[in-house]
Symmetry: C2
Subunit: 553 residues, 2 copies
């Protein structure tokens, strides 16, 4: 999402380069070895059993990847803990420099990265280019965030020795880095939310070393991005433990990383099942740590009659464009849509059916996601009172047909639990309501959602204040006349929400504010300038924004 | 702590008023019924089995309190969920008005409140007055925080329709209230961290209804404070479910409250065992919720030779004053002190022994805390190489003698685990080191601490930067030439830290920033002014500080 809208969501992946098996393989000047990258060193003490697979044709891709072992976890985390001690004292300029160097290294290796990513994920070139742009863009944005320094929330309350009945002490506080971060990337954003993605960029900008658990659905993409990061780490003179990449497909590897005593926090983007498993492991530790897991949602859309009367077909095209973005594999996919019955809705449905039927489906990211999508569609399709339209499939492999599910408000209310499960993939569930007056009541009690939208004309919205308020009780982001796909990377973006959309409603996993996850406040009381971090020294040598005696300055 | 330093820590509680048993009892114009307060109504469907006990003489105090039942939990939480819907739309002025009205009501009932509190907690009048001042003071400070509005972190990123390759949308965000809060107060701050304490004040200021689980060690104090809140809620026209008080001594009651589906978050101040139990319950819910538990620590103090050479006796008196504050029952008690061997330390120890021996001990808050203190002191006292000096006990009941424990650095290192357990009460453990050069090494790897201090002269501090950095890796607050007892209520105060000091290192449980616990960010994308909360409307009608396009304004 973000700066990437897809020009076309249909394409066959460029798998042509990946015919020969065996390793190492040279790709665009970068040698793939399948080894783990630990503190700048290659390591493969386990077995090389993990293969990338092209989801278009099911063919195994070049290079076998070594499943990281317990000893490699220990090594990566120990190096990360050592690096954390050094990095926490680094000035913002040095941290910003690393983020920018990683962006430059990714650009150097862009051809290799996008070739391999296309083969592993079946994304079209336009999508890959867009996501690549967002990936390097957010690395540079986090460099700017580090330099600007507002994220540290420096606060100064000056002393008042004359206050009665007791003198007031000098108290200052700021966010300090929490330590080594373990990152679990997303299958559906192999660049922007994976090895060199937002979690890694924000953690490094916050002085925290990163250990990435490579996603088994795109291990080669992870290795190329990881090597780019290692090169930048060396060039910028950071300690070796600043970054490690551990590959693997086992649950054990994730468990070892979350349970390691050096791990200070976890970033995760993926399924509810995966995120909850990591959350449970972290909560059960002797010393619990936070898991910032973003786990998707179905993002209810409420459409008003005026909108559908004015532009039923344009609305159908816009919804269709959002639903098919990334082949429906976006956590912000508008999966559940409420509409009032009427001519506009009939016209919308006619157009939507036409689009579904005219558009052959494409490949999902992997066979597991494909199976889960088909199972999710089947579960709702077989309920009484549910109509379903499926599009065609373009070939074998992980291809799926698009789906339109329609039902009445009554059917929805009778089967509410079934429709409150996310169907991850290219489907739209449309609930036809008698009118809009029941929207607020229908919205009551939705489980936590990443986003929710209302669509209408200014006249439609005259009484929509109450509905917006109900939406704000469950969603992290509310949109007016817009779809949640496409996440702007800015200060005010909140991509998160109440459970089960996320494990922590307090923090966003995307956007500039996501850096706050990797710091914790520390207060300094009556400390002389010589013992204060630069951010809190009286003269403000860093020139950062601070809250001084309750006033922003 | 905060605005209260104790003039004298020795006193017998004013238990004289509480001779007659039976209920209801009229105290300073307030009738104690022992009933739960649910949505402004008295309720006692369970059994009245809980008694307040005067810890000085073990005598049961007037009135039996009704243990809250499952049906009462259900009623309180349901009313709170209803109240949450109304309160979330209230303007800051109305929320501030409630906080101020509660402060005024507490002042109206001050005589009754302090009488009963003195009897239940054995605190001297000066301490009670100080803590009362802090309690009403922080209610008024949170009223000011609500009016000022900075805590909502309003952020606005304006649209840019001309941006390439895609237009930039208008995105705004702010913290919205999370819903009903369950508060578990602290035994040792029966006013400032209990029924009408900081958690309740900050939650109400953030538009969140509150259900207090009354502390079984001071149920009468809770009832009087609870009645004051109920009166204010009615006077200010808030919904009945804004506040409820449920009394009880059972773990089941806490479990029911944490597990109730309407509970959005939990505030807790108390023991590690209690806090961890609530944290585990909350994490195991189908929908996990945050538990903000502050669970105490031993707060390491590092003293340099220059300080001890310059003023060994004054330092002994200052440490003794801090250690005996609240009879040692402060989570900020400086329990573990490192000193270099030498004449200064010998003089310090001679003076400290003299103070311990000249000061008869007073009563702990209850028999459980008394027993835990004696057991904690015994555990370290029987280790090889440990010297112990105990003060006298002034009477029966829950009285304990003060304790000074001394040992060498070698003995500390050989028994590190034993000394990393908090001894809650009036004890000081002094570790005599060969010199100060080992301080940073000794400080490595301490478990999470609320606070840690260094004490020295400017010359001592020339090489102390590294030590401060190590301290900042485990502590939430660092002090220079000061003791952690006495917590200033201000913006920059952080009272929290890494586990086991707290369950969330990201948030403070005391101070103005503690209000942030009760909100979660919500983003609004492309919403017209008419559908935005006032805090985010273009014209800034509330006049609050906001981050606009990355700049504070």
């Amino acid at each position: 999402a973000g700066l990437l809208e897809e020009v076309s969501f249909l394409s066959t992946a460029r798998a042509g380069h990946w015919t020969a098996l065996g390793s190492p393989a040279r790709i665009g000047g970068m040698e793939l070895t399948g080894k783990n990258l630990i503190g700048g060193r290659e390591s493969g003490v386990g077995e090389a059993t993990l293969r990338g697979v092209n989801p278009v044709d099911g063919r195994e891709l070049q290079t076998s990847f070594y499943e990281a072992s317990e000893v490699e976890v220990e090594e990566a985390m120990t190096l990360a803990a050592e690096a954390a001690k050094q990095m926490r004292t680094y000035p913002a300029e040095k941290l910003a420099g690393l983020c920018e160097a990683i962006a430059a290294k990714l650009e150097e290796h862009k051809v290799a990265l996008l070739d391999r990513c296309g083969a592993e994920c079946a994304y079209p070139e336009a999508r890959l280019n867009g996501e690549f742009g967002r990936t390097v863009g957010q690395l540079r944005q986090f460099a700017a965030v580090a330099r600007e320094g507002a994220w540290m929330e420096a606060k100064i309350d000056h002393a008042d020795p004359d206050r009665q009945p007791l003198p007031k002490p000098d108290v200052r506080s700021m966010r300090r880095p929490i330590g080594p971060i373990v990152v679990f990337g997303a299958s559906n954003f192999p660049l922007a939310l994976s090895c060199a993605g937002g979690d890694t960029a924000s953690a490094l900008a916050a002085s925290c070393p990163v250990v990435v658990k490579g996603h088994p659905s795109h291990p080669g993409t992870c290795e190329i991005a990881g090597r780019a990061i290692v090169e930048a780490v060396e060039e910028c003179g950071f300690p070796a433990g600043t970054f490690s990449l551990l590959q693997g497909a086992s649950n054990d590897l994730g468990k070892m990383l979350v349970e390691h005593e050096a791990t200070a926090a976890v970033g995760f983007t993926g399924s509810l099942r995966g995120g909850r498993a990591l959350f449970d492991l972290a909560a059960a530790r002797e010393t619990p740590i936070p898991v910032y897991a973003e786990m998707g949602s179905f993002n209810p859309q409420f459409v008003f009659a005026g909108k559908l009367e004015a532009e039923p077909e344009a609305f159908a095209e816009a919804l269709f464009g959002s639903m098919t973005m990334g082949n429906g594999q976006f956590c912000t996919n508008p999966g559940l849509v409420f509409m009032p019955q009427g001519d506009g809705t009939e016209k919308f449905l006619a157009k939507y059916r036409e689009l579904i039927e005219a558009t052959p489906g494409s490949a999902m990211l992997n066979a597991g996601i494909q199976a889960a999508f088909e199972s999710g569609v089947d579960t709702v399709a077989k309920l009484d009172g549910v109509e379903i339209v499926r599009g065609e499939v373009s070939g074998d492999g992980c291809q799926v047909g698009l789906a339109l599910v329609t039902l009445s408000q009554g059917t929805f209310e009778a089967n509410r639990d079934a429709f409150e499960e996310e169907i991850f993939g290219p489907s739209t569930v449309v609930v036809i309501c008698p009118d809009e007056t029941g929207y607020a009541m229908l919205a009551e009690g939705f489980p936590g959602q990443l986003a929710s939208s209302i669509h209408g004309t200014p006249a439609d919205f005259e009484g929509a204040g109450e509905l917006m308020e109900v939406l704000s009780e469950y969603a992290g982001r509310l949109l007016v006349n817009g779809f949640p796909t496409g996440i702007e990377i800015c200060h005010a973006m909140h991509h998160g929400g109440l459970y089960p959309a996320a494990t922590s409603a307090q923090f966003t996993s995307i956007g500039l504010s996501s850096i706050a996850r990797w710091g914790r406040p520390v207060s300094y009381q009556s400390a002389p300038d010589s013992l204060l971090p630069d951010a809190l020294k009286e003269g403000n040598p860093l020139g950062i924004p601070r809250l001084v005696d309750g006033k922003l300055s």
